[in-house]
């Protein structure tokens, strides 16, 4: 059988950002996939050399727009641990609320794009319509729809008034109804299942060995979510990771769908437990010599920050490992053996964020 080499990307209708896969195909069946990255590499880690540790929050928030809040949070947590700063419970809980709003709008964005990938335009528009409610909440509470920029070292810079919280909860009630109305379609529709069930399968053991993260990991039945670590305000919230056992595109999609509803629940819990207190504590001095390793759960999965201080206002090292970076080796495992027409659906099923990956 002759082998045909087909380039997939860097520009492709299902890819919001550029990644290239070289696909070796025999009779419409993919035999091998080799990735090529580097189209949006910005060298953001290196900026820690010339930006001080306060300014680096702004940089970290721009590692990725869609999960900017959580990048800001984990970076702040790292510096706070390095400097021995104890953040107030109110600030921790406010971080949880904005983080979960980010998870919701990221998953809703992805669910729309996923529907678009297999040609379901009406479903795409419905998910994005719901997403607008979350974006409106971000804009009304933080002044920006995507990069909310509420984190500072020592806490947060913005607050939520009781009126705003009531309005957010009322918006989320409406959003929950609208999302549940789409549940039967995304989970049970014949055409959706025919494009996602049994496609791009990765087993439980393979997911662990290949280092998968987030919904890609949990879609293979692994009950692991960094929010179980109880970082920030999560320690006082009831939380169970969402898993699906089959390891296919349908499972990964269903995990994300259920996580949107879970995030609504977490915002409700956080709002009900929001304590009184200061928004931020005063920060003096520079990060001392030392190293910190932190993991948090972003919409796409486990995000790792490694920070080294050297006693100056500049960090000695800032290392960021984003979830999509971890999910590329699993992707290279999922694609071989599939039909060429399924490649876009499988690629999208890991929710690739390439600007995150390349930093």
């Amino acid at each position: 059988m002759a082998t045909t080499v087909i380039p997939f990307g860097p520009q492709h209708p299902v890819l919001p950002e550029p990644i290239h896969l070289t696909l070796k195909v025999e009779d419409e069946i993919v035999k091998e996939a080799v990735p090529a990255l580097g189209y949006v590499h910005r060298g953001l880690e290196k900026l820690a050399d010339i930006r001080d540790y306060h300014q680096m929050i702004t940089v970290c928030e721009r590692v990725c727009g869609i999960c900017s809040m959580i990048h800001g949070t984990v970076y702040s947590q790292c510096v706070e641990e390095l400097m021995g700063i104890e953040v107030t419970d109110r600030a921790k809980m406010l971080r949880v609320i904005w983080s979960e709003l980010h998870r919701m709008h990221s998953h809703l964005l992805w669910l729309g794009l996923f529907a678009d990938a297999f040609g379901f335009e009406a479903l795409f528009m419905q998910f994005w319509k719901v997403r607008e409610r979350i974006m409106d909440i971000n804009e009304a509470t933080a002044g920006s729809r995507v990069i909310v920029s509420v984190n500072i070292i020592g806490g947060v810079r913005a607050d939520l008034s009781p009126e705003q919280i009531r309005w957010i909860l009322s918006e989320l009630d409406t959003a929950e109804q609208e999302i549940k109305a789409l549940q039967d379609t995304i989970m049970n529709d014949y055409s959706v299942k025919s494009r996602t069930k049994g496609i791009g399968v990765m087993t439980y053991d393979q997911a662990l060995e290949l280092g998968a993260a987030g919904p890609t990991l949990r879609g293979s039945g692994v009950a692991q979510d960094m929010r179980m670590l109880g970082y920030g305000g999560y320690e006082s919230l009831d939380f169970e990771p969402v898993t699906e056992p089959d390891g296919d595109c349908w499972s990964r999609s269903t995990v994300r769908f259920r996580e949107v509803l879970q995030s609504i629940d977490l915002v409700r819990q956080a709002a009900s437990k929001l304590p009184e207190g200061e928004l931020a504590v005063k920060v003096k001095g520079n990060p001392p010599e030392g190293e910190v390793y932190q993991r948090v759960e972003q919409p796409r999965g486990e995000c790792v920050y490694y920070v080294r201080g050297n006693g100056t206002k500049h960090l000695d090292r800032l290392r960021i490992r984003t979830p999509t970076f971890a999910n590329i080796p699993p992707l290279l495992h999922m694609v071989p053996g599939c039909e060429l027409a399924d490649v876009p659906v499988i690629v999208l099923s890991i929710d690739p964020c390439i600007s995150c990956t390349e930093r």
Binding site: V34, L37, G38, H41, G43, E45, K46, L208, E209, L210, G211, Q224, M226, M228, L229, G290, E291, V292, Y293, R295, E302, V304, Y306, R308, D316, R317, R319, R321, F325, A326, I328, P329, P330, E358
Partner: protein, 122 residues
Amino acid sequence: MKGIIKDVTFDTVVGEVMHMKNDGQRLVTLSTYQAGEGKMGILYHFDKELETTHLRLVADMDKPIPSVSGVYFSAMLVENEIRDQWDVEFDGLVLDFNRTLLLDPEVTQVPLASNVKIAPKN
């Protein structure tokens, strides 16, 4: 830094990583830092049921570093990234992008190692 930290050497790193795999540990990622003139530190981060273990290797940057991509395929990508960022070589890397995973071939400055220039790749 939270978690268990174990020091490893050039001779023991692959064996220790194999031991971690046999123990059911998930390789999370590798982190690097400057560990003095001509030396870099590499931390291999592992996870098992949310418990973290780190292996620390301090390596001479002018010698090929033993690759663990033969043990964990997922290490392939991060070792290539380290190759881009520090201009070091890995011995036994299963897929070597030859320092062009993230960088363009004509790049001459090593991003994370100060004052080190390299020849463009052809």
